[in-house]
């Protein structure tokens, strides 16, 4: 590889390496390698525990059908909930990031940033309780209205749930939970916009919005995309909010406001695992493995976009 190490030409030019140095460097390197091993271990142990479910005869699995028929609806529910959350959270997060970086009074900006970060600090169990106690009843009026006026769309076909424990509520709750992540990344890139570009746009007579559209948004686009993907990864894996709020029946449906909802992988594991034994556990772990692979892919793509941008941007 193209490292910058130089090969010492003579023994005299070689730096003195003490034993302490060697031990310390070795320990530090060992810790790094340990992390790689842990990540590999996560994959290996999940696979090892999932294999019995792959090998078992379909009749023995929960649901009595094959593994794909069991996990399929869960994957659908997982992606549906995450996509709703993303659709709600991304525009909101970009606006919030813009507000903090370009609209809020300079003095307040940092404090406001902390407040958005606090949203991320609230534990997911609290969001779950809040979602079912406050948000679910609050969506009833909205779902009713959507059903009456937009009922021809498959999303709002009804019948309207009377508890509010719907996919829509889950999506909104997840949106609240991923909002701070997307905001943080977007804020970071918006702040990196070269000041000269912004000032040039303003000097040409652009209004503040035109300056943002011409200088800030194009510069921050890839940052926003990767932030959204990080949020997507978080939403895919979110467990407790879904487990508490959603009334799941396992149906594959796009209907967001009825009480017939597909469960999500993570929510299903949390609900079923404590009471499961034997092959049911292996099946749940197999579904967890699927979730692991999905989130790994989403996160890897997001990180790839961020890193590529970092190398090519003129910001540093």
């Amino acid at each position: 590889m193209t490292t910058t190490e130089k090969v010492p030409t003579s023994a005299a030019a070689r730096p003195v390496v003490q034993t302490g140095d060697r031990i310390f460097a070795g320990t530090a390197k060992g810790a790094g390698i340990l992390i790689l091993l842990v990540l590999a271990g996560v994959a290996v142990f999940l696979i090892a525990q999932a294999v019995p479910a792959f090998l078992a005869s379909p009749a023995d699995l929960p649901g009595g059908q094959n593994l794909v028929a069991y996990i399929g609806p869960l994957v659908f529910g997982t992606i549906l909930a995450a996509v709703i959350a993303l659709v709600i959270a991304t525009p909101l997060a970009v606006s919030v990031a813009l507000f903090i970086t370009h609209y809020a009074p300079r003095r307040l900006a940092q404090g406001l940033g902390y407040m958005v970060d606090l949203l991320a600090a609230v534990p997911s169990i609290v969001y779950g309780l809040w979602g079912v106690a406050v948000l679910a009843p609050a969506t009833l009026g909205l779902s009713d209205w959507l059903n009456r006026n937009l009922g021809w769309l498959p999303f709002f076909a009804g019948p309207v749930s009377v508890t509010g424990r719907t996919m829509l509520t889950v999506g909104v709750t997840l949106a609240v939970m991923i909002l701070p992540i997307i905001t943080a990344v977007a804020r970071e890139v918006f702040l990196q916009t070269p000041t000269l570009h912004e000032e040039a746009a303003l000097a040409l007579g652009a209004t503040r919005w035109e300056m943002i559209r011409m200088a800030v948004l194009p510069f921050g686009r890839s940052g926003v995309i990767s932030g959204a993907m990080l949020g997507l990864g978080r939403a895919l894996g979110e467990t407790m909010a879904v487990a508490i709020i959603l009334s799941a029946s396992g149906a594959i449906t796009f209907n967001l406001i009825s009480s017939d909802n597909p469960s999500t992988i993570a929510g299903n594991i949390a609900l079923q695992f404590p009471d499961s034994t034997g092959l049911a556990v292996n099946t749940l772990i197999a579904s967890g493995l699927v979730l692991f692979v999905i989130t790994l892919l989403v996160n890897a793509i997001a990180r790839y976009i961020i890193n590529r941008r970092r190398e090519f941007s003129g910001a540093n």
Binding site: Q18, G20, A25, T27, A28, K29, A31, G32, L34, I35, V38, L39, G41, V42, L46, A48, Q49, P91, A93, S95, V96, F99, L112, Y114, M115, D117, L119, P123, S124, I125, V126, L129, W130, A133, V134, A138, V176, L179, R208, E210, I212, G233, L236, G237, T239, M240, A243, A266, I269, A270, F273, P274, T277, G278, I285, G288, F292, T295, L296, R303
Partner: protein, 359 residues
């Protein structure tokens, strides 16, 4: 009237949008007047049809945005009007984003205060049916499990960050950086399944251990510690390192005596935030640590209660009557939120008060 003549002039001269200064300008009080006006109009309409606060706020905001846009288009032109519209949209987006935070805090405090008493903090759920009882066992469990997770994660995370910043070059360092980033995104439930799979190998299926919960939390915590520590080590000025080398100090002593002490405030704050992040995790503990009714001080022996799991089970599977169980769930959530907020506050304070003076 001068506005009218100017507009006529422009349209006759060219079809192009004019510089802003050629147009009139809304007086400074106009936005506020419009805002108050919108509230009054919407409030009046709603008072006639049926009043609700959320509807009032939403409709007033919409009316305010539309009115501002129209008025500004007429007086100032389309470009300025768009600018004003976007300002309103962005500001209301921020307010919308803060609504859940406020609502969560109000709800949890409102519902949690009912049982926020001494009994909650000094009694467990052993032998309790219905009223009374508390979360003492869960608080102990949360502190023990999170503490153990911190003990495991902090050295590993710190050393890895030192390796990445001070030693790491080439393929291994890049791989570690990439996978630490990827690890940040592991769903917490998957970490729980990993810990379960690992310990089921040794203790058989059906294993529930407090320590397994710590392992699961470490998987979630390590990448956060690495990331934040790395950022802090990177901003230590190179001059300090070079000064130490120039005095003949070996590299490892430079790191231990110069680099880490310089950045210790930032590192401590990052570690605190990492603890705050994992202390509220529910899913992995639900899977591997389970729940008991009594106090368990030994994380290597059997089930351990934790605050989030306690809150979840109390809510999801309450006894009869339901109210005492729900009250305890809310109080557990309140205690959890207080712990997390205090940790966040401590982290910010540490970072601010003990920041090194590099200049």
């Amino acid at each position: 009237m001068s506005i009218e003549t100017e507009r006529g002039l422009q349209e006759s001269v060219a079809d192009v949008e004019s510089p802003l200064r050629m147009r009139g300008e809304l007086p400074r009080w106009a936005p506020w007047a419009l805002l108050v006006g919108s509230f009054v109009v919407v409030g009046g309409v709603l008072a006639a049809t049926g009043f609700s606060v959320p509807l009032l706020v939403v409709l007033s905001a919409v009316l305010y945005a539309v009115a501002t846009y129209v008025l500004s288009t007429v007086v100032e032109g389309r470009r300025k009007a768009t600018d004003r519209l976007v300002t309103i949209v962005v500001t209301s987006a921020f307010l919308v984003a803060l609504t859940p935070l406020v609502s969560v805090v109000i709800t949890v405090v409102g519902n949690g205060l009912a049982r926020f008493d001494a009994e909650f903090f000094n009694s467990s759920m052993r032998g309790i049916v219905g009223e009374g009882g508390g979360g003492y066992h869960a608080i102990i469990g949360t502190l023990l499990i999170t503490g153990l997770a911190a003990v495991m994660s902090i050295p590993i995370g710190l050393l890895t960050a030192v390796y990445l910043v001070e030693y790491g070059k080439g393929r291994l360092a890049r791989a570690i950086t990439f996978f630490v980033d990827v690890m940040t995104g592991i769903p917490s439930i998957v970490a729980g399944l990993f810990a379960f799979a690992l310990f089921a190998l040794f203790f058989g299926p059906g294993v529930r251990l407090g320590f397994a919960g710590s392992v699961a939390l470490s998987v979630l915590m390590i990448p956060v510690v690495v990331r934040s520590t790395e950022e802090m080590l990177k901003i230590v000025p190179n001059e300090l390192r070079e000064a130490a080398y120039a005095l003949g100090t070996p590299k490892w002593r430079t790191i231990v005596k110069v680099v880490i002490p310089t950045s210790i405030a930032g590192i401590a704050s990052g570690v605190t935030l990492a603890i705050a992040r994992v202390i509220g995790e529910t899913a992995p503990l639900l899977i591997v640590a389970g729940l008991t009714t009594g106090v368990n001080f030994n994380p290597f022996d059997g089930r351990m209660a934790t605050l989030p799991v306690f809150a979840y089970i109390s809510y999801a599977a309450p006894g009869v009557p339901r109210e005492p169980y729900l009250d305890r769930a809310w109080t557990a959530a309140l205690v959890l939120i207080i712990i997390v907020l205090v940790l966040n506050l401590v982290a910010r304070l540490v970072a601010r008060l003990f920041a090194p003076k590099t200049r």
